[in-house]
């Protein structure tokens, strides 16, 4: 047995799209605590810089990038890699959510959601896993999805579909990229208080919110609860776990 700590990123670079707030910010900070250097990607420079300020000096870079512009993601990541060197991993936390039942489904809105929740994630995966970008010894990709990929939640039709798509896609990537020692996993959180989820909850009545929260045996989660699981899945020492989805939901799906 080694005496080395179980999780230590040893200054490896991890790209975190969606790091301006919520789960993405919490994961970026936890990665930093575990020795990673982090590339913070998102649209809002000010918020990304807030995240950067919470990390040790020199351990984070800010890359302002609108993830709905999927066509430029590859070249942007190549530029970043040329600046900082080889990358180790990706934790794709970016996403948009919109509560709409089937009756108000709109194809154009769904397409925009797919762009950010799925296509941009796959473009990021392609950019980071390139032979001339990722570390020669391999790396890890992680997509933050949702328990709504697994359970039906009224009003979350489009969101659930995109998250389910990402889980299915990640399994393919896990098999395709194993030959290059790149692990690919997904993380499905339950309800966690973040700006994204709180925005969706505002559409519900107080009674509906209470009912939803009561469905979590361990209560509603905090971003840090998800961040620790994300770091576990990404950790270089976690060498044999790929193609898996880890549910972290305070017992919601165990009922």
């Amino acid at each position: 047995m080694s005496d080395a700590p179980f999780i230590d990123f040893e200054a490896r670079w991890v790209v975190v799209p969606g790091a301006s707030s919520g789960l993405g910010r919490a994961i970026a900070l936890e990665l930093g605590r575990c020795g990673a250097r982090v590339i913070l990607v998102g649209r809002n420079q000010e918020k990304l810089e807030e995240t950067q300020a919470l990390l040790p000096v020199g351990r984070a870079r800010v890359v302002v990038q609108d993830l709905s512009s999927v066509g430029v993601i590859g070249s942007r990541m190549r530029e970043v890699s040329r600046e900082v060197g080889r990358l180790y991993g990706l934790c794709y936390c970016a996403g948009v959510v919109e509560t709409r039942p089937l009756a108000s489904f709109e194809a154009a809105r769904f397409a925009r959601m797919i762009d950010v929740n799925v296509t941009a994630g796959l473009e990021m995966a392609r950019a980071v896993s390139r032979q001339d970008v990722i570390e020669p010894a391999g790396g890890a990709l992680l997509f933050v999805t949702s328990i709504y990929a697994w359970v039906g939640m009224p009003g979350q039709l489009a969101y659930s579909a995109t998250k389910g798509a990402m889980i299915a896609a990640a399994r393919v990537l896990a098999v395709e990229l194993a030959r290059r020692r790149i692990r690919v996993n997904t993380l499905s959180p339950g309800l966690v208080h973040t700006p994204l989820s709180d925005g969706a909850l505002r559409l519900l009545s107080d009674e509906q919110v209470k009912e939803l929260e009561a469905a979590y045996p361990l209560g509603v989660g905090a971003p840090e609860d998800v961040a620790r699981c994300a770091v576990f899945l990404l950790a270089p020492q976690n060498r044999w776990m790929t193609g898996a989805d880890l549910v972290v939901d305070g017992g919601y799906m165990a009922r």
Binding site: Q131, D132, E176
Partner: protein, 78 residues
């Protein structure tokens, strides 16, 4: 497209550093030119040049020069 541009394009397809490949580079020295790499090359030839090849034809290629020959025989390489 001249040979230098073609080599850069092939390097991009196989995710190699530009300038790393020459016409004599064997397939065995290009780590990403495996069975999935063959499919990637097939899609890239079709998408960028309209060249349609079978997996058998592509699997028979042994060097980067073989890809250059395909480009040349299809009028894509000056």
């Amino acid at each position: 497209m001249d040979q230098e541009q073609a080599l850069r394009w092939i390097a991009e397809v196989f995710e190699q550093e530009p300038g790393r490949l020459s016409s004599s580079t064997p397939r065995s020295e290009v780590a990403t030119w495996d069975s999935l790499g063959v499919l990637t090359l097939m899609a890239a030839l079709h998408e960028h040049f309209g060249i349609v090849m079978t997996t058998d034809q592509l699997t028979g290629m042994k060097t980067v020069g073989d890809i250059l020959e395909v480009l040349q025989s299809n009028g894509k390489l000056a």
